[in-house]
Amino acid sequence: MNNILDVHNLHWSAGDIPILSDISFNIPKGAFVGLIGPNGAGKSSLMRCLYGVNKPQVGEIFLHNKNLLDMPARDQAKQVAVILQEHTTHMGLNVWDVVAQGLTPHKGLFEWTNKQDLKNIELAIEKMDLQSLKNQPFEQLSGGEKQRVMLARAQVQNPQLLIMDEPTNHLDVHYQIEVLNTVKKMDISVLASIHDLNLAAAFCDYLLVIDKGKIVDQGLPKDVLTENMISKVFKTCVSVDKHPLSSSDQVRITYSYSDLDALIAKNHNDNEKGDSNA
């Protein structure tokens, strides 16, 4: 298969505390891959390994058959763009400045912005419908507008792979759908961590499930998003059926504590049976 990213046997510890272990997966070219898992499962830590902030102690990350871990930071950034979960204050930068940051890995010292670069920046701004906002301070934008600015920056960065950490965090339903639709239209390989399982079912081509620092399941959303997997990983009672208006799966959550207690007791019994059989 034509993969853009291959991760083999990745291990990462924060000091003495093991966070990720034996992580292996791949991302097919052009696929939108969702990374799902409960809080603290290791989603952000895994993504940080892929864009160079965390240095894995063991394992290999191949991007187009080149080991990402051996590449200088600048070469990595030419191939992988990142949209972080939290938008830090940008100390007075306006929308245009932030979009233009996408040029950073492509330009050497004293290599100034040329006409083609300006054209690319304007094109990205136009594509994300940001023309009226381009002189606005970044901090003054709404959550959805900020995500569009970061997508425009990623477009200028022109990567092979886009990594998004919780791209729909803090967004209302309208902006959640708008942002993910925009990413889909970008026709680029994407790895995005997503909390909302229904959004993951609707937008992702493949899903990776991470729990306690390990990939516990991966595959097509219809195969991965099962009642059994969700109850085990997320400790939540759900039913999964087809959405009446679309072909995607729909996860219905049961919000009752008594159901949850029953589920935990059932899982406990199942585990004990499994142990005694073994």
Partner: protein, 341 residues
Amino acid sequence: MRNWPLALLIALAVISPLLALVVGVANISFSDVAQIICGQFSDSCEANALKQRILFELRLPRVILAFLTGAGLALAGSVLQTVTRNPLADPYLFGISSGATFGAVLVIAVSGFGMGASQGLFSGWSQLGITGGAFIGSAVSVLLVISMAGRSVQIERMVLAGVATSFMFSAATSLVLYASDPQAASSLLFWSLGSFTRAGWENLSLPFLVLIICFILFSGFSRQLTALLSGDENARSLGVEVQKIRISMLLLTSLLTAILVANTGGIGFVGLMIPHIVRRLFEHSGQHMMWITILFGGVFMVWVDVVSRTILPGHELPIGVITAAIGSVFFLLVMRRKSWS
């Protein structure tokens, strides 16, 4: 960015030094200055020759040194605020200025360099010795701050280490002043508070050269610096080697500060204040921000020097006293605005 503030700044950068040349004890008019600069001034009579000497040997180097000092300190402050993402950062906050002042004061006190009455003594080797002392002092500060910042070069730890280093070197400077004989201590105290009285053509070339080199290097790294404004993780994802850039920029700013401190003594708050004012007046000027900061800092310091020479008839106020007075009020205003916003 609006164009008129920029046009006004450029006009001020040209006119301010010319106006500053007119101010002084000796009565030299604006037309005298214009004629001398254009080479049309008659130096046949003794009075005119004296005016020409005062202008070329005293006032012009002094105005140029003031401009270079303001420009350099503002640039250093702007870069420090960017690499640390701390709007209150300046060469003082990281102990750079205090380290440089201590180094220079120690060299002067021990060797007697720069204590002579005539300008000539404060040149050549002595100036180089003071500059070297200042640079070693500032480099020690920076290395202390970096070594305390932890493996991931945490900004909060850097700021705390900087404040501690600053106090440590200030105390050491006070000790040197206390231990010196009263005449030397008085001279050192005046110097440590900042002054352009020793400006001469011989001590302009190094500050000018270092300012130009730093400006060129900072401009070359402007993309990386802009990326740092968006946070370390963002910058790393854009291909910036965050720690290497941060440490290199800190060392460059310490070199720039040390060269200026060695020539002018300790002048605080300029590096804090000017980048703030520039960001406010010239919002979102992006890649032009650096040279706007340089011009603004230069113009500001030329006028501070004019005030220091004229505010008390027959006396000259130390530059650092005026910048600290303006800067501390500014600092409080910034804090107040932040607490209300």
